[in-house]
């Protein structure tokens, strides 16, 4: 299955383009979705796609890119684990004259092209929704992702930026539930014990945690008093929005991210003109506009 030919202008001769992709985590539903779209597009365009799972480790990701370089793939697609820590991979690929594309999120070293969205934006959308619902006044609990990871940092940053505009909104507690539904449920249960009556809204940095919070609030009979908003718009979350359990989620377009990444990769391989940055905007999903996203 492995072709040994060099990357130079073989594409023009109709040989298969080989794309190596390293993904943040294949245990994350959203990333799996992006990857599935990449596969679909790759098949459509006759591209051979080699995917590896970085399992959230920047070090592993760099190693995988090194492997791709050694294998002489035509283009590398990286779904970065970290803004800074995944950057050496970009430098290495560029030094080896292999184009590299960031999909989904950014690195500090600029790649050949970027396809994705800005995580800070997603949190801003979520918090704006909460602020409007609460009329700019109320107590918020924030569930953080795995501490120190890029998505956690950026989503927190976005939330805090919005809060500056609403002095009446206060985060009364924030804690990590490590992106996990079960942990979020336990955390929410514990929070209800301390803050039960004071809470007006919960902002969870991903849907998994948001759904965990919803479970705990429902069990405690508090759901109708507390707004819960999270990010990603995974199918479960859309379902919960439909049922009115989750008040809103923020849609990140996996389909476009995946497809555009492969399209850009093909252009790069063939030496055709391409967009240096393809920004795919986030969208707020509520019961009202839900139909669009299902």
């Amino acid at each position: 299955a492995c072709s040994q030919s060099t990357s130079s202008d073989k594409s023009q001769e109709g040989e298969k383009i080989i794309v190596g992709a390293t993904m943040l985590s294949m245990q994350n539903e959203f990333i799996v979705n992006v990857h599935d779209e990449m596969e679909k597009k790759a098949q459509e365009l006759g591209v051979e796609l080699i995917t590896v799972d970085a399992e959230r480790s920047a070090l592993k990701q760099i190693e995988q890119v090194e492997s791709f370089i050694a294998q002489k793939v035509d283009v590398i697609i990286m779904n970065p684990c970290e803004v800074e820590a995944s950057s050496p991979a970009i430098a290495k690929a560029l030094a080896a004259k292999i184009p590299i594309i960031n999909v989904n999120s950014e690195t500090s070293t600029k790649p050949s092209a970027f396809v994705g969205s800005d995580d800070v934006e997603s949190a801003k959308i979520a918090l704006k929704f909460i602020a409007e619902k609460l009329n700019g006044k109320g107590n918020i609990l924030m569930m953080q992702g795995y501490m120190g990871q890029a998505a956690q940092i950026k989503r927190e940053q976005g939330a805090k930026e919005i809060l500056k505009d609403y002095p009446g909104l206060k985060i009364i507690a924030q804690q990590t539930a490590e992106w996990d539904r079960a942990k979020a449920m336990s955390l929410m249960e514990n929070w209800i014990q301390s803050y039960g009556s004071q809470v007006n809204a919960v902002f969870a940095q991903n849907d998994e945690m948001g759904l965990g919070a919803v479970k705990a609030l429902t069990a405690a009979g508090l759901k109708n008093k507390v707004i819960v908003v999270s990010i990603d718009a995974i199918p479960d979350a859309l379902q919960a929005v439909k049922k009115g359990e989750l008040d809103a989620t923020v849609f990140q377009n996996a389909q476009q991210q995946g497809a555009k990444a492969i399209e850009t990769a093909v252009k790069l391989a063939k030496g055709q003109p391409y967009d240096k940055a393809t920004l795919i905007p986030f969208q707020l999903v509520t019961k009202e506009n839900l139909a669009k996203f299902q």
Partner: protein, 326 residues
């Protein structure tokens, strides 16, 4: 002559060497009590009925795993595949738990079976080869994670029936189901360990494998049973977790093994085998759960939570061990 004999028996009655029936070490109970006392003084939210039921419910999954791994550690083994078994059992159970498909016993049975099969696989490889349990179960940990992802195609399996969701989310007489399950399994495991031939053999194997063999104990059979039992308990834990979060998650349970082993060891089970109790495992799990609950109630910042958690756990066990120095 008669006198001497009598003295011996008299002494026995008052001997502090006697194991406090079923409880192993005592100091950890003191440590646990102190922590609870401190929390009730600091925060009024701790010592409430609703908070206590919540803590015990949260602890139940880790406690079940701790029971299973206590059996394993007593025989001198280890099981690192707990978390993966939880995930596989959860995903399998969820696949059969959609509304209007099968009656609720089917997902329960299938989840349990998944755990049992994986546990039996561990036992089989460990008893048929010379490979250390650490490596075998580390292998199964990786394999199991892969299986859970393959079976679920990497996506959570949701939309489960209400009767299935009742297992982890329902209440009976105002008490959450997980607490019932926890109590029942605790009694079963404690009886198994303390009152049956099987339990005695576990202690013997872990205490001195050669002497156990020379006493005619079927080592392989017992070990096989023990790993299978551990798998079964992990299976139940997986069902409970899935039902509680109403989703079969392929990446559920990651890292659970360390918490469960920690609970067992905090409760006085020695990693070198031959000692340990179910009450200890339970108290170990409760200790971890209470600390974590307390830190949330007190809203300690996440970074510091970890530091405090580590310090308290080490501190509790230090206290326990001081209490047990002669």
């Amino acid at each position: 002559m008669k006198n001497t004999t009598n003295t011996y028996f008299d002494l026995a009655g008052g001997s502090p060497n006697l194991r406090i029936s079923g409880f192993g070490r005592f100091g950890i109970f003191v440590a646990f009590g102190l922590i609870c006392l401190a929390l009730s003084l600091i925060t009024p939210n701790f010592l409430t009925w609703s908070n206590l039921t919540i803590v015990v419910t949260q602890v139940s999954i880790n406690a079940l795993l701790a029971f299973g791994v206590t059996f394993v550690i007593i025989t001198g083994g280890i099981d690192l595949s707990l978390g993966s078994m939880v995930a596989v059992a959860g995903v399998v159970a969820a696949s059969f738990a959609h509304p209007d498909t099968y009656p609720v016993v089917v997902p329960i049975f299938m989840g349990l079976l998944a755990g049992v099969v994986m546990g039996a696989f561990n036992g089989f490889v460990i008893t048929r080869s010379n490979v250390p349990p650490f490596i075998v179960t580390l292998g199964t940990m990786t394999i199991g994670r892969g299986l859970a992802l393959i079976l679920s195609k990497g996506r959570p399996i949701s939309n489960l029936s209400d009767s299935f969701n009742f297992i982890g989310g329902g209440q009976l007489l105002g008490i959450p189901m997980p607490i019932f399950i926890l109590i029942i399994l605790f009694v079963i495991c404690a009886v198994l360990l303390n009152k049956t031939v099987l339990g005695r053999y576990m202690y013997a194997i872990g205490g001195n494998e050669q002497a156990a063999r020379a006493s005619g104990i079927p080592l392989k059979k017992i070990k096989m049973v023990v790993y299978t039992l551990c798998g079964g308990l992990a299976g139940i834990a997986g069902i409970l977790l899935t039902s509680r979060i109403t989703t079969g998650q392929p990446n559920a349970g990651a890292g659970f093994e360390l918490d469960a082993i920690a609970a067992a060891i905090i409760g006085g089970t020695s990693t070198s085998g031959g000692t340990g109790t179910m009450a200890g495992a339970l108290i170990g799990a409760l200790l971890i759960g209470v600390i974590s609950n307390g830190l949330d109630l007190l809203n300690v910042t996440s970074y510091y939570q970890q530091v405090v958690m580590g310090v308290i756990i080490i501190g509790a066990v230090v206290l326990d061990s001081l209490n047990h120095k002669k």
